[in-house]
Homo-oligomer: 597 residues x 2
Amino acid sequence: MTVYSAPIQDMRFVLDQVIGFDQEIATLPGYEESTPDLVDAVLEEAGKLAGEVLAPLNQVGDRQGSVLENGVVRTPDGFREAYQQFVEAGWNALPFDPDYGGQGLPYALSTAVTEMWNAANTSFALCPLLTQGAIEAVGSHGTQVLKDLYLGKLVSGEWTGTMNLTEPQAGSDVGALRTKAVKDGDHYKITGTKIFITWGEHDCAENIIHLVLARLPDAPPGTKGISLFLVPKVLVNPDGSLGPGNDVKCASLEHKLGIHASPTCVMSFGDDGGAIGYLIGEENNGMACMFTMMNSARINVGLMGLSTAERAWQQALDYAKQRVQSADIAGGREPVTIIQHPDVRRMLMTMKSQTEAMRALLYYIGGAMDTSRRHPDAEVRERAQGVVDLLTPVVKAWCTDTGCEITSIGIQVHGGMGFVEETGAAQHFRDARIHPIYEGTNGIQANDLLGRKLLRDGGANAKAFIAGMRELDNVLASANGQHLPVIRTTLIQAIGELDAATDWLLETGPKDIHLAASGAAHYLNLFGTVTAGWLMAKAALAADAGSREGNGDARFYEAKVTTARFFADQFLTRAAALRRIVTDGGETVMAMTEDQF
Amino acid sequence: MTVYSAPIQDMRFVLDQVIGFDQEIATLPGYEESTPDLVDAVLEEAGKLAGEVLAPLNQVGDRQGSVLENGVVRTPDGFREAYQQFVEAGWNALPFDPDYGGQGLPYALSTAVTEMWNAANTSFALCPLLTQGAIEAVGSHGTQVLKDLYLGKLVSGEWTGTMNLTEPQAGSDVGALRTKAVKDGDHYKITGTKIFITWGEHDCAENIIHLVLARLPDAPPGTKGISLFLVPKVLVNPDGSLGPGNDVKCASLEHKLGIHASPTCVMSFGDDGGAIGYLIGEENNGMACMFTMMNSARINVGLMGLSTAERAWQQALDYAKQRVQSADIAGGREPVTIIQHPDVRRMLMTMKSQTEAMRALLYYIGGAMDTSRRHPDAEVRERAQGVVDLLTPVVKAWCTDTGCEITSIGIQVHGGMGFVEETGAAQHFRDARIHPIYEGTNGIQANDLLGRKLLRDGGANAKAFIAGMRELDNVLASANGQHLPVIRTTLIQAIGELDAATDWLLETGPKDIHLAASGAAHYLNLFGTVTAGWLMAKAALAADAGSREGNGDARFYEAKVTTARFFADQFLTRAAALRRIVTDGGETVMAMTEDQF
C-alpha cells in the first residue's frame, strides 16, 4: 500500500511567502478569522484525514471500482464511511458562504486542503469537486427558493452535485446538445441522455442534485438556446424533507483507464415521462450559468494535476531512497540507493521542481480568486479577476499535462516494478490521464486562452500580466544570493519570449486564425512555463531572504532555491524553442489536404 | 474493434528512397534474392497476417490476459492458433541463417515486417522477439551440438526462447544476480528465481528454451562472474526428440499496466534439485554472450515504440476523420470533422511526423546491421557496426519515449472516448509504457550512450557520425524545392547543437562524470531528434526529387516533404534548448543532499 503525507511545510511556505496569505488574503473583509493558528490547524487536520482515511482507500478503490447493480451504484469498500467522516467533520463546507452553513475560509486555503483530498484519493475527491460546482451555480444564479431548499445540504455535503453537459454528439461542442426541457407549471420536464457524468449515481449520499443543460422547444440553435436546470435524484418537499424519486436513472457505467472508484455514468432523464427540473437563471442563459461552475472546475482539475503529481512524487522518492542498485557511476564496488544515480536524481528533481511550480501557480490563482471576490477596491478586484480569467485555461492545461508527465516519470523511477500494478505507481499514471481531457480538453483550453483571453481584449489583460511579471526583474537585480543571478537572466529571457509570442498572436490572430490556433497549445505551454518560473523565482527570493534572516528551516530554504534554479535551468530555458514553434512553426500544420493523411 | 493496416507505401518509401535498400542492401552478398518483387510480396503477405489475424486479437488479449492455472499458462483465445499460423507460414525464420532453416532475408526488411507484428499485437510479437534473441545467442556462442539440437526448432518457431536476467535484487545491475550453476558431468544444475520473464511459460509451443544467467560457485563477483546457460523447459534427447520435463516452473504471473496477453513470469529453477542447463560460450563470459541478445533486443524495443505509435496514429486519424464536432474556428454554422480543427491537426501532424521519423531511424539502423554483417569491405563493415553501436541506445530510448508521447496524444485526439477502455486508444497507451523500461531502462541507455558509446573512444565514432550527417548540407544547399531551404537551415543549426553538446560531454565526462551524466538523458533526446531530423531531411530530398521526376505518387511525395518540414519546425528547433540543458543545466541536479528531499 502506498502512503501519502500532506506536504504541509511546502504548502505553508507557498501560502505565506509566495502568495502573501497572511498579509494579502487573510486581511480581506470576511477572512479575518484565517489566522496563522487556524491555517495551521486546518492543514494539520486535513492532512490527517487525507493520509489516514482517504489515501489507504486509493488502491482499493482502483481495484474494486464502482459497480452498477440493479440500477444502484455501489462504491468500493470504505468509501461510504470515508465520505460520512468527511461530511461530519465539515470539510465540504470549507470555502462556502456562512449563510448556508459554510465556513467562509479563503479559496487559497481551500486550494491547499483540496490538494490533499485529490492527492490522497483523486476518485473520492471528484465527488465534492462536483458538489462545489453545483453550489456555485445555485448560489450565483438560483432563486431564493432553490437556494433555501438546496444550498444547505449541498454545502454540508449531505447531498452531492453533478454537472450534466455531455451527450454523445455534444462534447466540446456543448451547443449541440439535444436534451429537452418542457415547461410544466412551476417546473420543467426534462428528457434526454447524458454521458460522462462523474459521480452521477452512488451510495454515499441520500440525494444527488443534478445540474442539467437542456433545450426548450423554441430555443435558438447552438449555445444561445441552452438552459440550466436543477434536477434532484429524489424530489424535495417544500419543508426540505425528501419526497418521491425523480424520473432519473443511471443507465450504465463506463469502464475506464483510471479513476475506477469514481462512477462515470450514462444518465437517463425522463424515461417515464420526464424528470422534474427547476430552472436556474434565465431561460436560454444556461451557458453563462454553466461557466460559473466550469471555470472553478477547470482550476480544480488543474489542481488534480498537481495533486496526482505530488502523490506520484512521494512514492517515487520513497522508492529511490530505499532501492539499492548498482555502484556509483564514478566507481566503487558497493551498490548504492538509486537516488545517488545522476539520471534518477534528474528525474526526481524534475518531479520535485514541477510539482512545486504547479503548487505555486495554483495557490496563486486561489489567492487571486479571493482578491477578486473580497477586496474593497473595485479596481483591485477587477485586476485580480483578470488574472483568474487569464490563468484559468493555463492552469487547467499546463498543470494537467505536467501532471501526466510527472506520473510517467514516477513509473520510470520504479523501473520494472513501476509497470506492475501492485506497486501503485501505475494507478497515478492512469488516473492522471483523464485530467487533460475533462472540463474542456487541453486543446479547448488553448483555444480559450487564444480567443477569449488574448484576442478578445486585444491583449490588454495578458500584456498587463506579463508586464507585472517583468517587475520582478528589479527585485532579482538587487538580490545576489546563490543561483539568483542565473534565475534572473533565464527568467527575463523567458518573459521576453512569452511577450514576443503574445505580440505575434495578437498580430496574426485577426488575419489568420488557423495559423494562430496552430500554435495555441505551444503558447499555453509557454505561458504556463514562464508563469510557473516567475513564481519559482519569487519562491527563491523569499527562501533566500528567509535564509539570511535565519527565520525558519535553513536546509529547506536552501533546497527551495536549488529547486527554483533547476526549474529555470531545465524548463524556463525551453521558452525560446516554444516561442519559435509558435511564431515560425505553424506553416505546415494545416497544409495537407485531408486525403493526404 | 480497432483495425490495423500496414503502412506499406511509407515502408516501401523508407526502404527504397531513404536507406537505399535496392542499391545498398539487396546487393550485399547473400541478399541477392531480395528483389523488389520479393520485397513487395513479403510486405504484402505480412501485412495480411498482421491486419487480419494478429490485430483482431489485440483487444481480446488485453481483456483476457494470460492466466496461470495449476502451473500452466493459458494465453488468450486465438493466440495459440495465430502463433501456429505465424510459424507455419515461416515468418519466424525470416532473417535467420538458411543453414538452420532460415530465409536469410535482410534485417532491414525484417525490421519492416517486425514493425507489423508489433503494431498489430505487441503482446503477441514479444514471443518471437525473445526467440530471436535466443537464436542469436546460441548461433553466435553455442557449441555445434547445441546449434544442431536447438537452432532449427527455434528458427522455425516451433520452440520459443526467453531471456532470464532479472532477479529481485538484480535489475539494471545484472551483476548482482544470485542464481547458481553447479557443474554436473556434461551439464550444469541451475537453482534460483528469475523475475520479469517475458513469455517464460505459455501454451503456444511444445518447448521453451530459457537462456539463463547464473553464477558458478567460484565465480568472481559482479558481471565478470556470470555465465550463460541454455535451460530447456522440456529436455531434448540427442536425436532431437523431446524427453522428460526439466526442473523449471512458472511460479506466478505479474498483474501489469499493459501487455496483458504477454505472460510476465516469475520463473523458478531447480526446486527439485536443479534444472539441467548447458553452458553457452565460456564460463564467466555470460555477459558478453548476453549482450549479443540484448543489443538486438534493444533495437527491437525501439521498434515497438514505433509500432505502437503507428497503431495509435492510425486509430486517432480514423477517429479525427469521422468525428464531427464544433464549427470551424474561423466561423461557420455547421460542425466539421475534428481533423479540420488546428489543434487537432497539430496533434495529428505530431503523430505522423514523429512516427515517420522513427520509422526512418529504425530502418536505417536495420540497414546498418545488414551492412555490418555482409559488406565485403571490412572497413565498411566496421563503420556500419560503429553506427549500430552508437545508435542502439538512441533508438531504444528515443523511440520508446516518443512512442509513449504518441500514444498519449492518441488518447487526447479521442477526447473523453479516449479514456474509455472500449475505444482501444487507452490500451496502446498502457502497452507502450513498458518500452522505456525493459531491456535496460532509458536512463541506462543514456548512460550507455555517454559512457560506452561516447567517452570510451574519445568521441571518435560519434564525431564521425555527426560529420557524416553534416554532409547532407551540401545536398540540401543545391535543392530548392518548397520547404527544403528551411529544413536545411534548421537541420544544420541542430547538428551544430548536437556537436557542441558532444564536445562538452567529451570534455566534462573525464573530469566530472556526475555532471556529465546529469545531462545524459537530454543528450540522448538531442541525439535522437537530430538523427531523426536528418533522415527526415533525406526523405524530403528524395520525395522532392521523385516529385520532379514524376515517378510515383505526387500527393504522397508532397505530404512527405510537408511532414519533414513540420518535423524540422516543431522538433529540430528544440535542439538549442536541449543543448543548453546538457551544457548549462546540470549544476543543480546533484546539488541537494539526500535529507533535503
